[in-house]
């Protein structure tokens, strides 16, 4: 009794040979594409810098015919993200000199309109990338659409739109964030602090006060970190209150922030000892 016939085996061998040959073909295409992709990105960077230099003062006066080279990048998703990536890079370089240069350029080449349509996409990745490009390129006109996504069920969409909220609204966004009932990951907290430092270095006490009063435990850790980062010593009481928190990490963050706002090292240490006698074995924080 034979489990598998000779014909069956021959068919398997033929099929496997076909599959392996196909894989070789795919490999060859990938290798070729890779070589072209590097060249493509270099050319794109060069073109964008050239076009931006030309249109730096009055981008809207530039004729649409001058942007023909960018058209292929607007039709294909992968190329669109590449264009976005290069524009973000250029925008970061220009930050501080003329922040609106890249957003005006995006309007001129038709990228802003495409990003707006992508904000309504059903694909979560497209949506996230569109939100990312909106806040990185300073496309504030997309704020109403993005604000609606701040409570989206997809974590990535929600996170990115909340970061966009911080970029567009600054300190006031903390008031809005305190109204959402979603946990904020450590990654998002770091990003939010980074954006506040970059775009809104001056503290808006009224907004942070309102956010604290909302008493939403989802943003407690974020607020503690912000207080520490911006050395807001007037919120020592808030920090001290959370040094007793049962929630993992919160009390440590509260102590670190107390330390950052210049609360006396010895006092911090005494607070620690009061809470937990085993802390006596910990070294005294150095100011």
């Amino acid at each position: 009794m034979r489990i598998i016939t000779t014909e069956g085996l021959l068919f398997c061998i033929g099929f496997l040979c076909f599959c392996i040959t196909t894989l070789w073909g795919v490999l060859a295409v990938i290798l070729l594409n890779k070589r072209q992709q590097t060249e493509r990105q270099k050319t794109l960077e060069k073109n964008i810098v050239r076009a931006l230099a030309k249109t730096f003062d009055q981008p809207k006066n530039e004729s649409a015919a001058n942007f023909v080279w960018v058209k292929p990048y607007l039709t294909n998703n992968a190329k669109l993200w590449l264009l976005g990536k290069v524009l973000i890079k250029v925008n970061n370089l220009l930050h501080g000199t003329k922040p609106e240069a890249v957003s005006s350029f995006s309007d001129a080449i038709g990228l802003t309109a495409i990003i707006k349509t992508k904000l309504g996409s059903t694909d979560w990745f497209e949506k996230v990338m569109a939100i990312r490009l909106s806040h990185e390129l300073g496309l504030k006109q997309h704020l109403p659409e993005i604000a609606l996504l701040c409570a989206h069920e997809n974590t990535f969409i929600r996170r990115e739109s909340q970061i966009a909220l911080v970029v567009f609204l600054g300190w006031q966004s903390l008031v809005l964030l305190s109204e959402y009932n979603f946990p904020i990951s450590q990654w998002q907290q770091i990003c939010i602090i980074k954006k506040l430092r970059k775009y809104y270095p001056t503290v808006d006490r009224a907004s942070i006060g309102t956010a604290i009063e909302a008493n939403n435990h989802n943003i407690t850790r974020l607020l503690i970190l912000i207080i520490g980062h911006f050395s807001m010593h007037q919120y020592n009481t808030y920090l001290r209150k959370h040094t007793n928190s049962e929630e993992e990490g919160i009390s440590d963050n509260a102590y670190q922030s107390l330390h950052k706002v210049g609360y006396n090292s010895f006092d911090t240490w005494v607070e620690l000892c009061k809470r937990n006698k085993s802390t006596l074995s910990k070294p005294l924080p150095i100011s």
């Binding site: 598998i4 398997c12 990003c191």
Partner: protein
């Protein structure tokens, strides 16, 4: 009925081989999904966004060193030059007989300080001396000189001396990518619903690579055939196997050469088992068991990017010694945790992952040897149907080639380490010849290891002879 009984072994071989091949195809498919998802998420959550952030969890790198004099200075420089704002490096000199410690003392201007263990929860062999550098440039470096106790014991000593949130266990002979820590810490920062209990990264082979100032600047294909075959073997294992298991939260092994763990959990389970040969697998199983018992949601995650480079065995002798050890380690760990086999109380680990490891990771070499012996018997008895046997072997060989080609394809698509057509062709040729060259040696080593373990022959951890980078 008689014929059925006579054919029973062949039905078994067929069913076993079919299940094994099917599992490979399923894993390849899952890996494809996982890579796609990883590519998307790593675009959105890119480690460059948190570069320079102050609120990242603190990390201690623990690197045990035993007779690593040939590469220790280059490697310590490499480990000291990582991009991460808040990390410490502990080199544990595990009673080296060479001049490793003296080299470290001279190069990094080390001075002895009193030993201060941060915990008594993990025990290790006695410490002779603890050194820190008087050069402020190296103020995150600590060297612990201790009595020899083996790799696991040395790592435990490092863990006991660490006071950070996370601990990265590596080897002093590894070259770690500059941005590796930022990538490894990412899952710990982004995960909300599960606790990450271990995170592993892919390991690459650095034989014949160009290394400057402790940084790998150019990856080259190893000149030795045995090392070249291992390049594809690592791709298969890391880019397909682990990526696929990680995708369904069923990863049961994080390589000892590069694994990041929360210190809290390591202390709870008592660190590595110093008597175990396969200490990395054993720790991961124990961590998973611990979390199952605590009934807390957890994840073991895997980063497919090659973040750590190491020298692979390039001689037959060293290769056999390594695989013999791996085989003993696997058998020992599976026996130690045999109660997990189809044990529903341990969730997915008891129901799927552990049985898979027993049946396929441990069982495959055994079934292969029995199959080969059966062929020898059939030839000697004149009962072998040559045409069918050759066709069947060709079929199995082609499935292996297909699987290896898929691994190379995934790697080439995602990374630029082997981006030249000529390199890819040489890599494929090496892997297509593997069943006739390296595989028999590996099978021999695996069976040797199993027999040693079975018969209780005492065997050491083995020595890895290095040429140095």
């Amino acid at each position: 009925m008689n014929e059925f009984l006579r054919n029973l072994p062949y039905y078994f071989f067929f069913a076993y081989s079919f299940s094994l091949m099917a599992s490979y195809f399923i894993l390849a498919f899952l890996a494809l999904l996982a890579i796609k998802e990883y590519t998307k998420t790593s675009t959105i959550i890119n480690e460059t966004f948190v570069k320079g952030a102050q609120d990242l969890p603190s990390i201690t790198l623990v690197a045990p060193a035993y007779n690593e004099g040939l590469t220790i200075i280059t490697n310590v420089y490499s480990l000291l030059s990582l991009q991460y704002p808040n990390y410490k490096l502990i080199i544990v000199n595990d009673g080296s007989k060479d001049d490793s410690l003296q080299q470290l003392i001279n190069e990094f201007k080390l001075c002895s300080v009193p030993s201060t263990l941060k915990t008594q929860l993990i025990k290790a062999a006695p410490i002779r001396n603890v050194y820190i550098s008087i050069n402020t440039k190296f103020n995150n470096l600590t060297v612990i000189d201790k009595e020899n106790g083996g790799r696991a014991d040395a790592i435990n000593c490092g863990i006991a001396n660490a006071d950070t949130d996370l601990i990265l266990c590596t080897d002093a002979d590894c070259i770690i990518e500059q941005g590796a820590l930022l990538k490894m810490v990412r899952p710990y920062l982004e995960e909300l619903d599960h606790e990450i209990i271990a995170c592993g990264g892919a390991i690459g082979i650095a034989n014949d690579a160009v290394i400057r100032n402790g940084t790998l600047t150019e990856v080259k294909l190893p000149k030795k055939h045995i090392a070249r075959v291992q390049v594809v073997e690592y791709m298969r294992s890391f880019l397909i196997g682990r990526m696929a298991w990680g995708h369904i939260n069923s990863l049961m092994l994080v390589s000892g050469a590069f694994g990041l763990y929360p210190r809290k959990r390591l202390l709870e389970v008592g660190g590595f088992d110093k008597d175990s040969i396969g200490e990395d697998l054993e720790l991961c199983i124990r961590l998973r068991k611990h979390m199952e018992e605590l009934k807390k949601p957890y994840k073991v995650v895997y980063i497919p990017d090659t973040l750590c480079w190491t020298e692979a065995p390039w001689s037959c002798e060293v290769f056999v010694s390594q695989r013999d050890r791996w085989s003993r380690g696997l058998m020992e760990t599976l026996l130690k945790h045999k109660h997990l086999f189809f044990n529903r109380s341990y969730g997915r680990m008891g129901k799927i992952i552990f049985p898979y490891w027993v049946l396929f990771e441990f069982g495959a070499p055994l079934v292969e040897v029995i199959g080969l012996l059966n062929i020898v018997y059939l030839i000697s008895a004149g009962e072998l149907h040559w045409q069918s046997a050759l066709l069947l072997l060709t079929c199995v060989y082609l499935i292996g080639c297909f699987y290896s080609t898929v691994a190379v394809l995934f790697h080439v698509k995602k990374y630029d380490h082997y981006a030249k057509a000529s390199t890819v062709i040489r890599l494929l040729l090496a892997t297509y010849s593997e069943p006739f060259t390296v595989h028999p040696i590996m099978l021999y080593a695996q069976i040797k290891g199993m027999i040693k373990k079975w018969t209780g022959v005492k065997s050491s951890w083995g020595t890895m002879t290095r040429t140095g980078f």
